[in-house]
Assembly symmetry: C2
Amino acid sequence: MAGETALEANWLDELGALLGDRLSTSQALREQHGRDESYHPAHAPDAVVFATSTEEVAEIVRICARHRKPVIPFGTGTSLEGHVAALSGGVSLDLSRMNEVLEVNAEDLDCKVQAGVTRKQLNDYIRDTGLFFPIDPGADASLGGMAATGASGTNAVRYGTMRENVLGLTVVMADGSVVHTGGRARKSSAGYDLTRLMVGSEGTLGVITEVRLRLHGIPEAVSSAVCAFPTLEGAVDTAMMVIQSGIPVARMELLDEVQMDAVNRNSKLDYPVQPTIFFEFHGTEASAREQAEMTGEIARDNGGTDFRWATRPEERGKLWQARHDAFYAAIGLRPGAKGWPTDVCVPISRLAECVLETKRDIEETGLLAPIVGHVGDGNFHLVFVVDPDDKAEMEKAAALNDRLVERALRMEGTCTGEHGIGYGKMHLLEQEHGDLLPAMAAIKRALDPLNIMNPGKIVRVDAN
Amino acid sequence: MAGETALEANWLDELGALLGDRLSTSQALREQHGRDESYHPAHAPDAVVFATSTEEVAEIVRICARHRKPVIPFGTGTSLEGHVAALSGGVSLDLSRMNEVLEVNAEDLDCKVQAGVTRKQLNDYIRDTGLFFPIDPGADASLGGMAATGASGTNAVRYGTMRENVLGLTVVMADGSVVHTGGRARKSSAGYDLTRLMVGSEGTLGVITEVRLRLHGIPEAVSSAVCAFPTLEGAVDTAMMVIQSGIPVARMELLDEVQMDAVNRNSKLDYPVQPTIFFEFHGTEASAREQAEMTGEIARDNGGTDFRWATRPEERGKLWQARHDAFYAAIGLRPGAKGWPTDVCVPISRLAECVLETKRDIEETGLLAPIVGHVGDGNFHLVFVVDPDDKAEMEKAAALNDRLVERALRMEGTCTGEHGIGYGKMHLLEQEHGDLLPAMAAIKRALDPLNIMNPGKIVRVDAN
């Protein structure tokens, strides 16, 4: 139609008029924003824009809506299933400059942050209040991105995931309107739970610009321990029995011997190269000790040996940093390789069977793929350490990934415990929840009729 | 249009052909199904139907969709904001005969029940497994209804609400399709969180026919205590300080002196007629004792006296049954009266201020309105004990209710912590979340384009 070409040329000009040098079309920046931490190839947006306020985000979305251009929110770019890929062009909306902690209400154990604040930044900020924010994916991700992807981590077994810890959100909707979901009350039955709908929606229903979070008291006593097991089965059985005994363990992380070797090399440690669990206990002095004793007994019954304690904060910090760096350590096993991380989650009674079958499958396939897991939740990860240019190897990894998910679904699990769908797992979401896709698509169309919010992720909708 | 009258006559015949004597148009049954436990007047449906399977529910919904007739799910009829009122006729879909426990997976701490199973029925069923289901609204409600309304109760401060304890749902959608949300994995990032969207949607987006729930281990040690306070302020401050200290109290229930008087009379007890907190502690022997000691110290610092312990199961049972009967006890204070229960929830730092202002407001207004509260969550209830035929009194109650919500919103709280919106609080939902109503209406229209699922509740949509 007449006028369309002019419009096409104009949309970047309009954004430029609003943002000045906070709009960039440099190729390096565009490519960096079209790529996450995984093996997914870069899909560069047409431009990268840096927003500094909710109202500015709203204006950016309005301009893009007028021109029917995609808007892809970007935090730290540490997602793993192609969430930030600009599959149909548009702008990458970088929220990293919205990095202010807006409120800390210590007496109510809550806070409000701009979307670009990272989890470590928040914890540094509130250190003197005696509170902390527990959700800890491997990366130092932004809290807006963590809300958008429903992030989780090592503390989820005790403190829940983002789903349980987001109290409310400020969201810019697809028409540029600004809404506030949830609130400061601990619970509410006031209408549809749009907070939980937005958490995990991966930018496909709106742009999260502010996040209200629950905080937790730093426990009086914290103790960590590392325990090696002669068999993977002994380690997984220990995790299962700890949960079934109702011990309120704060962290319980499994690393197989391949991953332990990687962690030793990467973090200059000397743990036995055996299946290992990292534990942490939170409570009063007495209850943390009681938890540790009960857990130690279960571990010993399953062949656990070489129980090492870390009680000083620096030791504990080193231990957990090593665990958080597991992904980077895995990639480091093969210089020049990329990591293809994947995760599934199964009922804990099936965890041993699922991990052991998967371990055999990896060995038979001949891929390098360390296993780590938040085993208290029944959630575990593989990292395929691959060369993305080796087509045969990538096909092997894809087939192994599909088998992993089929196995998890057969055991009544899910195709992803915490990494999300992006575009990397859309075919697996269909396997798991094919019956729900019509409802998901209907919601997507209802809230984003022009299909401009991070299109091509989670659920396919008809082109407008 | 030609044919419409025939269709009009036919829809009940079609339902009758499907259900036989499980369809009733008796006036008594219709009126009973159009009324909940509160003051809301009965709005009788055109018929009551009793379903016995998910497939049957689907067929009922398909027939109603063809004839554009409302479908109003009905569990035990114990909701409080007119949720079950047939405002535009249609059928009340009674699920109470779908009362089978379908699965108990003790090793994974989960189960699956049909929607009509009640919370007490489930707890009786699983008694020998060492597990329990903690969510306990006052009534012995159905678990489908509890999911649909996002129910909560005395244990929420420790174990969460239905939102945190529903793992998945079977839902019959407005077009009669059957979908399964969530699953048995403890966590999942697989697409939009339709489980949480359905929880609390009050039957307006679909009919819940099966519920997968988390279960919890019965703690090794349980101890309850009752403590009276000279002032309401002392009691509320105690609750706030217990939460701020991070004591993982399992239950912490406030009753004001009016409510204590009602409870004493109703349950033949002899507690002091003073503001009182009922506590419960769960844990190992050592940790439950530690929690109780720390709490006792805080209570004494706030003037708490007459600390009475209940350690034997029968004593504890009696104590908590008295608490659960608080609503009926309140109504009993004035023979022939009805109860108009309402609830709000505020950040805990504002709880004392909110409760005390409200108490003054009640006294000034001259209504009989006992206060009870799940104060660990910042959530409290009034029950206006009223004569629905006394127009002046009802107007006073309505005005007090509006002031209560305005006060809660001013203190960054919510218009309902757990009772929900129904049609009784739609004007208050608009005050709290007016900015979200367009998104809620868009979702409602997307999932229920004919507006047949419990229409006229939560959010208004244009007539189709």
